[in-house]
Amino acid sequence: MAGQIKEMIDSIVARRAGDNEIIRKTTRTKLILKGIEIGRWSETSPDDPAVLSRLKEIAIELGVPS
């Protein structure tokens, strides 16, 4: 199902930051520094199992497991 990566990125950011714009921005930067090219993935991007797996790890690291 395409778009899962973007959905997971958005979900991690939302669960960590809520409505706080400062935390939203720094969380997105943390994802980039953890190796996720957040600008690369859209709602129609094919899913990459390796990236999805890494995002699940990152969610745990950030205390927001799915």
Binding site: I22, I23, T26, R28, I32, L33
Partner: protein, 370 residues
């Protein structure tokens, strides 16, 4: 003035610290942050600073050049005293053994106890973190990653230097000098703050994907399936011998939109490329080209502070590679002049921190007027 800056030169620790204290006057700080040349007896300096500014949280690190107001200095100590009107509440903790087991989680918990509540519950617009890390530890990425996992408060700072000896750097807290350690401070700043990250590069339309890396040694083995130095040289349109001379002019950028997080090549290791910063496997990086540090920093400051700045204080974590470039171009005076009239200190660092570890950047903490 809620923030007082001090500068002292000389070789005798006691006299230098006495000079700093004399400049403080009647100011009663809650925190004193200092950056010191590596030439001093570090344990003696740490102890003397702690004793001189009793009642304040005293912390700092060694440097590869100091910035005091509009002066770029060498062999000095610069300090910033912050009082309760700007930072009524300050907690500082040491993270030991950063290159080994480290105890980031325990330090974060102690900081919460010190600042009056778990860090996760604090207002991020009124609290900011300052981190100073041993610049020879190669642990900055891991420490920042662990801190970032636990803390939403923005953290800015730098890697300590040692006057370009690249042997041993120190961070200071609690009257002691620590190696293989980091100091993490949380400041409550009710009037607010800004963090400025500025780097002086154009982003070229050339990309390199790190297809094989050794993260531990900060080494890229292959870009795009080719030996790293070969691919880097091809991207620059030169041979590998010439490419090795262009590292400072052409670092790479991990892009966040239009903003690069700079990764600077350090040296060639055969066909491998060793960086001053960790690069993760699979990462796509943009090739950068150096621009004008003075112009770009001036523009960044003007955009952030406005035409008539009115701030409590500014702390400038300024990459040593930028300092070396300024020296080469005879622009140290012009760079220092950008901070004229601002209550500011800084130092030349072995790396800069903002969310993560970066190179060839200035990260700055701007404290608002109370």
């Amino acid at each position: 003035m809620s923030v007082q800056t001090m500068t002292a030169t000389g070789n005798d620790v006691s006299r230098v610290v006495a000079e700093l204290k004399s400049q403080l006057g009647t100011h009663e700080p809650t925190a004193v942050l200092f950056f010191a040349s590596a030439k001093y007896d570090q344990p003696a300096l740490a102890a003397a600073m702690e004793a001189a500014f009793e009642g304040a949280k005293v912390f700092g690190c060694t440097s590869s050049g100091e910035i005091g107001g509009d002066q770029m200095l060498k062999g000095a100590v610069v300090a910033m005293a912050i009082d309760a009107t700007t930072a009524p509440n300050v907690a500082v903790e040491v993270i030991e053994d950063v290159s080994g087991a480290n105890d980031v989680a325990a330090a974060v918990e102690r900081l919460g106890q010190g600042i009056g509540g778990p860090l996760g519950g604090l207002d991020v617009s009124r609290h900011v973190g300052v981190i100073l890390i041993d610049g020879m530890s190669a642990a900055e990425e891991r420490v920042m990653d662990l801190v970032g996992n636990l803390v939403d408060i923005p953290v800015v700072g730098a890697s300590a230097g040692d006057d370009l000896a690249f042997e041993t750097t120190h961070v200071f807290v609690g009257g002691k000098a620590h190696a293989n350690a980091a100091v993490l401070a949380i400041l409550e700043v009710p009037a607010g703050y800004d963090i400025l990250k500025t780097q002086s590069f154009r982003v070229l339309d050339k990309k390199l994907r790190a297809t094989q890396v050794d993260e531990v040694t900060r080494t890229v083995i292959e870009f795009d399936g080719k030996p790293a130095m070969v691919a880097y040289a091809e991207a620059l349109g030169v041979d590998t011998g010439q490419a090795a001379k262009l590292f400072m002019n052409h670092p790479l950028g991990l892009m966040d939109g239009d903003e690069p997080y700079v990764r600077s090549p350090q040296r060639a290791d055969g066909d491998k490329l060793v960086f001053f910063c960790n690069i993760k496997q699979g990462t796509t990086l943009s090739v950068l080209e150096s621009a004008n540090i003075v112009e770009d920093t001036g523009a960044a400051l003007a955009e952030q502070l406005g035409p008539e700045p009115s701030i409590a204080g500014l702390i400038n974590f300024h990459c040593i590679l930028r300092t070396l470039e300024l020296e080469k171009r005879g622009q140290c005076g012009a760079y220092g002049a950008l901070f004229s009239g601002l209550p500011s200190i800084g130092f030349s660092t072995y790396g800069e921190q903002y969310v993560g570890h970066v190179n060839q950047t200035s990260t700055m903490l701007v404290l608002h007027n109370p």
